[in-house]
Amino acid sequence: MKRIMWLGILAIILLVLALRTAQGHMLNPFDSFHGFGTWFAALLTLAIMSFLYNDNPVYRFAEHLFVGVSAAYWMVMGFWSTLVPNLFGKLWPSLTAKLFIPGIADQPRDPLWFLYFIPLVFGILLLLRLAPKGGYLSRWALALILGTTAGLRLIAFLTADFMGQIRATLNSVAGYVHPSLPGGTGVFSFEQMFWDVVSVIAIMAALSYFYFSKEHKGNFGRFSRVGIWVLMITFGAGFGYTVMGRIALLVGRVEFLLVDWLHVL
């Protein structure tokens, strides 16, 4: 009975859509590639939204299609935006120019171009994970990735995040930020100074919560409790922002269905 009811509803919806398309109120999926694509995207959107009711075959189809297409999408993007210009273009510029990017051989060659055999070799080693034997060699590539990440991030986070955040905090406490500095207006303001002092105290309080070498008791305990409140405010604001972002995406999808597909708005 339930199945018949659902099929009936689906038939009515299809009939309405067919009538609207026939009357020219909607894009005809058989008229142009854009029309077909819009219909496909709309049905895919509805298929994924159907998961809100329950897990169903239509949703699973959309989910599996998305997995396959997105895997290939990132692979193709990686090939054309990184491998071709940065690897093949550096190692074999004239061949790359002939096969992939015509203008690449005109650029002056990097004097250290031979270094690019390193990622080529390690990239091949990484692919050995798919081979039945010699999979352990892919760890060498993993080791290079980790070494590179550690070496680059260690300095980058120390200078940009650690020192940078402290510098940016202390720069503004005087209620005056020189115009040459980021966010600087060059105008003194008591209100600004008040909020900057509040900001510094809040940062210190939040940091004190993460300091575990001293027991959180007495004045220090009370101060670290203020730190928890600051962190809760941050998480609350983050949560509110995330929900707003998701709702904006949802509004975008509904707008696509009503405006681009159904043409009812």
Partner: protein, 226 residues
């Protein structure tokens, strides 16, 4: 051999890149940039590895006719077709060598525009419902901390809509500091920023110590147990 060489590679590469930061002379000055590109190249190869794994996993499901195997056919077909039109730049209006793979009008662009983008946006949009339902079940103003979190989330949510502006628009100028848009601004710019800064300082210290552990060879978890 299986563990020593990877440890050596990590240690040497990590140390050289840290030292290179302090030597602004050739060839060290460009070494950090070069290795950053190497990282991108190997990450792109990792996408190929991911694709290979996807085919292997779904291929075995299809060949064994495991439960729900027809969905694996959809994944494999979607993957192979997108890969084919992307690598061959099929349908590109300016030909294979003429323009980028993402040029409007190509079949790869169509796969992005009519499949990847709507599906990704809808998947993330669904999270709005799940976040709302999960927070309805989990959030309870049991203590001061939970109440602050709830209150701030509520103020930020309504403060970013026209309702937030309307609710407190009747307040006189002398009570401007109580209006929701003002509260939202101060929450976001002062307190949220302060909390984020503290977290970022903590993250930076954590990354520095983890990086040192990896370079020195104390942290070997990436080598696995084999």
């Amino acid at each position: 051999m299986k563990r020593t060489i990877p440890l050596l590679i990590t240690g040497v590469v990590g140390t050289v890149l840290v030292v290179a930061y302090f030597i602004p002379h050739p060839p060290f000055d460009s070494l950090r940039e070069d290795f950053s590109i190497f990282f991108d190249i190997i990450a792109s190869v990792a996408f190929i590895l991911g694709g290979g794994n996807l085919i292997r996993m779904h291929g075995s499901r299809i060949s064994r006719k495991e439960s729900n195997w027809p969905y694996s056919v959809v994944t494999v077909l979607g993957f192979l077709l997108t890969l084919f039109v992307g690598l061959t730049k099929l349908g590109n209006p300016n030909g294979f060598l003429g323009s980028s793979v993402t040029t409007s009008g190509s079949y790869f662009y169509a796969a992005y525009e009519y499949i990847f983008r709507p599906a990704a946006a809808t998947m993330f949009a669904l999270l709005a419902f799940y976040v709302a339902s999960a927070s309805f079940r989990a959030f309870r103003a049991k203590n001061a901390e939970a109440t602050i979190l709830l209150l701030v989330a509520f103020i930020v949510l309504i403060g970013r809509t026209f309702v937030g502006e309307l609710l407190t628009s009747w307040l006189p100028d002398s009570l401007h500091f109580l209006t929701i848009p003002y509260l939202v601004e101060k929450i976001m710019v002062v307190l949220n920023f302060a909390g984020n800064r503290a977290i970022m300082i903590g993250i930076a210290l954590g990354i520095v110590s983890t990086s040192l552990k990896v370079i020195i060879g104390i942290d070997r978890s990436y080598l696995g147990s084999g």
